[in-house]
């Protein structure tokens, strides 16, 4: 029972594991860029989770074709699409901050 449930909800489980891995990187890795990579992994894992929620068995991509009735849920996809692009922006901003911080430290050492 448990096993079948884990298997059928594999995407959820996987997304949580990925989230934990990302969280580990954010919490325990000293390197700033590693932390940012961790944030990105967490982000994608949540996207995966959302897409998994919107999934429907045997559903086609939400692109209306005549004669097909079964589609996956388009709403999470729209949300994720927006979040993806915002994700680039935040990642870039974080990286810029990291670079600036690094250079400031370098300056202080000199």
């Amino acid at each position: 029972m448990m096993i079948t449930r884990v298997f059928s909800n594999l995407i959820y489980v996987a997304s949580m594991i990925l989230f934990l891995i990302g969280f580990y990187a954010v919490a325990l890795r000293p390197n700033l860029i590693k932390k940012i990579i961790g944030i990105n992994i967490m982000e994608t894992s949540i996207f995966l989770f959302l897409i998994g929620i919107g999934n429907r068995k045997g559903g086609a991509a939400p692109l209306i074709v005549d004669g097909v009735k079964n589609y996956v849920n388009p709403l999470p996809q729209a949300v994720v699409l927006m979040a993806l692009v915002v994700g680039v922006g935040t990642t870039a901003l974080a990286l810029i901050l990291a670079v600036k911080l690094f250079e400031r430290e370098e300056e202080e050492q000199l």
Binding site: I21, A25, N31, T44, V72, L95
Partner: protein
């Protein structure tokens, strides 16, 4: 849930562990790009080709390039 999805998911987790545990930043970034590609394939399997397209371009294209630039800017042996 096809067997291919299971395989891809396992690959995702392995890649994530490699990324996090790697000591080499550049290798981590390259693996992160590969991670994005696999993730796009998973999304394609789950019925989201639009997102897969965006993910391929963003994750393994733009973000990787940004990371590479940042890694080069922050690495110590960058001195000319």
């Amino acid at each position: 849930m096809t067997s291919l999805t299971v395989l891809l998911v396992l690959a995702l987790i392995t890649l994530a562990i490699i990324i996090v545990s790697s000591r080499d930043m550049l290798a981590a970034v390259i693996f992160f790009s590969a991670y994005g590609l696999v993730m796009a394939l998973v999304w394609q399997q789950l019925g989201a080709p639009m997102l897969a397209l965006a993910e391929i371009v963003i994750e393994s294209g733009i973000i990787s390039v940004l990371f590479v630039v940042a890694v080069f800017r922050t690495s110590k042996d960058d001195a000319e």
